[in-house]
Subunit: 484 residues, 2 copies
């Protein structure tokens, strides 16, 4: 990066607002994905005006720029593939309005999900999307990826809560989309276009969010099955009843074993379990718990355990949250990596999907832990990879391709809540083949110089196992990666 | 229109699929707005392929084309301002998939809201947005305008239910956006961009919608007030409790008088009433009814009447639905017209907004009936105009401008659920001043020849009281209208 650009950046954010220290740059080359690439500079703006000045500079000098929240993205969203600027937005972390009587609040992009919910909770409200990274992820990142989590079945995804945004466009202009009202039909819904645009259409500098009334009561039922397919069937039987749970989490035998090994919760050691949560008025919760138990039994559960005890529910929820780290301890030589990890299928297709994933894993000689927010058809198939073995990565990549082909055949999507970035790009390009040109036309219209988070989504080419964070192996067909 | 274009259209849709009959063309020049303009041809396609062929032809020959559902739009969406083709989509009216176990269905754009809800209702589900024109409006039109209605406070607007779309782009290409899954983060959320784009970005030929579980029970409370401002305060007190009603309808004294004159429901003759609906589990409904009554009393209601009786609720709901026609019979020389008719303000600003609307009406010597979906801050100020008096129209237009200025000052939007088209265009351009260029850039990227529903939203110039359907008066500063 030219020294005059660094100097200009220093002029905008001051000497404490940026870093070109090699250790900082190395760290900011990671997110929670398998990828890595070192940026040229990290900038930490504190105001929208600073963001606008930095983006204007980037646009003028054709410098790539990548907005970054907490770096919890699983697919390489925050990895600066083409170098340039990483724009760390975590210093913009204030809740600037809290209007419970109007059902909305306004937050800067660096506000953390749990921080916001802490404030809402005091007032009887919540932002219920519940991402897995709730303790760390930022509201800006959630908007950029249309993040959600286990409660999307009842409460929707981030897109359903965004009322308005302040965005710095790739040309540096500041725009305001949406409103502070609960609905609007006033021109193109640009806020909804920005949701899920993964930092390629601008930098989100303020988010107006509606929120929901916190349910009075909740309860959880653990149903244990001798067949993963039966567990999948239980999910769609509950929905079709009709009964709308606040969450159903599915775990397969690999996942259960991994969690039981690491946590002391004693999940039933079986082929699959469903954790079914219902919430609402206490009387509704009581009625629905009974119905859930009955449906689970009829769907083949050999045991069910229900509880409305907060401590017990928390224990089970913690077990669910521990899946990801637990899987990494499954075998000595393995790490659990984010490959093929958040496809979504129509709910009734879960049994067929999970059955196929098991077969594909076996055929490719890879270990897969399947779990996920089954109530809305969102599955996670975390792959266990030997990070230093080229063969292991290649087998994983083969399995990923087959898994996604099956998902698309079943009418599903390759990503329900994590986004595309790098790791899902080739598969998303298959899924969205007929609308890629429209996406590219919009990108070109708003970012004519292609400076915002370049090289990803529709612009990605090559294998997903390149630009790897694991030094011992990288398929560098597309060049780049930390070795280069 | 050149005869060879007509011949080509005949080749695509057959001789029964179009009309150039002068009576047909005259009729298709209207929607539910104050505007009128006669098209050159009306085309009624029955398949996506036909739509694609017609749009391709329009794009090649630079012929304006306006998609049309039931024509219930209040702001001139379906009025073919620049002549050309009106594309009547009501013959594409099949529900093509009904997947209750997957919580989604797929409908052609001409499916009517009540028709869809009839099918869902049999299975225990509903699409709860509840537009005022439920009996007539089409799903395609609802998507195009991000329509909603009295239940948006609890259940959201159309945008919150669209999972995916099939769209014929302005170039004739057919694309598929979104998914058949309840959530997705797979590339730009083009479906959400298409929602509310008012036929300017393409023709919607299929809609994938999620739906909700129908509540077991509901109840309604009528609270009567001696002050419109107190009634407004009651609304935000309920929300801040926190208590999420399924609807709160507000009616001012003009509206109450008009309805009591036309319907035999005996609404309390007072300054304002709130109709508060709660729904859900029977126990929740019972609890919430009590809380609602208590809050209404504390907010100044001099009487409350509550009922869980379906017949009674239906009677009250019918009274609410009768407002629009009733207002037209308010005075002998007046018609109620869609001017300034669906602004939305933050809920807590309702008292200030309705007070200001009353003052503005008085100052301009116009009669305004204020009512609306107050729970989400969405107000309707139907103006009573003497249609043959230039002075009356001018006074109305002056009042509209002042009303919208107040709405924007309060942090509101000029349209909560109807859309922009013509009648809201100048005010929306004020509201969205800093993002108009971004909207235009997207429009240009997807519709380079500007054939889709031209001359509206950001492209509208001039006064809203032009192209009027009322022959005795038209401000034709911008040319056009049926007289030209």
């Amino acid at each position: 990066m030219k020294q005059e650009i660094v100097e200009e950046i220093k002029g905008i954010v001051g000497k404490d607002g940026y870093s070109t220290d090699i250790a900082d740059l190395y760290v900011y080359g990671f997110d929670a994905s398998i990828h890595h690439k070192t940026p040229d500079i990290v900038v930490r703006p504190t105001t929208t005006e600073q963001v606008s000045a930095i983006v204007t500079l980037a646009n003028r000098t054709l410098t790539p720029i990548v907005p970054r929240g907490a770096g919890t993205a699983m697919c390489g969203h925050a990895v600066p593939l083409k170098g340039g600027i990483v724009l760390d937005l975590t210093a913009m972390n204030k809740i600037t309005e809290m209007r419970v009587e109007d059902l909305y609040c306004v937050a800067e992009p660096g506000v953390i999900y749990d921080q916001l919910n802490g404030e809402l909770s005091k007032r009887g409200f919540w932002f219920p999307t519940t991402p897995g990274s709730a303790e760390a992820c930022t509201i800006g990142g959630m908007v950029a990826t249309n993040a959600s989590g286990m409660r999307a079945i009842k409460y929707g995804a981030t897109r359903d809560y965004v009322l308005g945004l302040e965005v710095v466009l790739p040309t540096g202009e500041i725009i305001h989309t949406g409103t502070r009202t609960l609905k609007n039909s006033s021109g193109y819904q640009l806020d909804r276009l920005m949701v899920g645009s993964e930092g390629t259409l601008g930098v989100i500098t303020s988010v107006t969010l509606r929120f929901a009334v916190k349910p009075e009561a909740s309860a959880m039922t653990i149903a244990a099955f001798n067949s993963l397919v039966d567990a999948g069937r239980c999910v769609s039987n509950i929905i079709a009843k009709p009964l709308l749970p606040s969450a159903i989490e599915l775990m397969d035998s690999v996942t259960i074993k991994a969690v039981n090994k690491c946590m002391n919760v004693g999940l039933p050691d079986c082929e699959a379990i469903c954790m079914i949560e219902v919430d609402g008025h206490p009387a509704a919760v009581e009625d629905e718990m009974k119905i859930v138990e009955e449906i689970a039994r009829k769907s083949g559960a050999f045991s069910t355990e229900a509880s409305a005890d907060k401590k017990k529910i928390n224990e089970w929820t913690q077990a669910r949250k521990a899946i990801l780290p637990s899987l990494s301890r499954y075998g000595e030589n393995y790490v659990s990596v984010a490959l093929a990890d958040d496809m979504s299928v129509p709910i009734s297709k879960i049994p067929e999907a999970v059955g196929a994933f098991q077969r594909i894993a076996e055929e490719n000689g890879v270990i897969v832990g399947t779990y996920g927010h089954a109530a809305d058809g969102n599955l996670h198939t975390k792959m266990l990879v030997e990070p230093h073995s080229e063969e292991s990565w290649k087998a994983g990549e083969r399995a990923v391709g087959q898994i996604y082909d099956k998902v698309l055949e079943l009418g599903g999507t390759v990503t329900g809540e994590h986004g595309v970035a790098i790791t899902k790009a080739p598969y998303m390009q298959k899924e969205r083949a007929d609308s890629l040109d429209a996406m590219k036309a919009i990108k070109k219209a708003l970012d004519p110089n292609g400076i915002m988070n370049p090289g990803k989504i529709f612009d990605w080419e090559g294998s997903i196992i390149s630009h790897l964070r694991y030094p011992a192996f990288c398929d560098d067909r597309c060049g780049g990666c930390q070795k280069s």
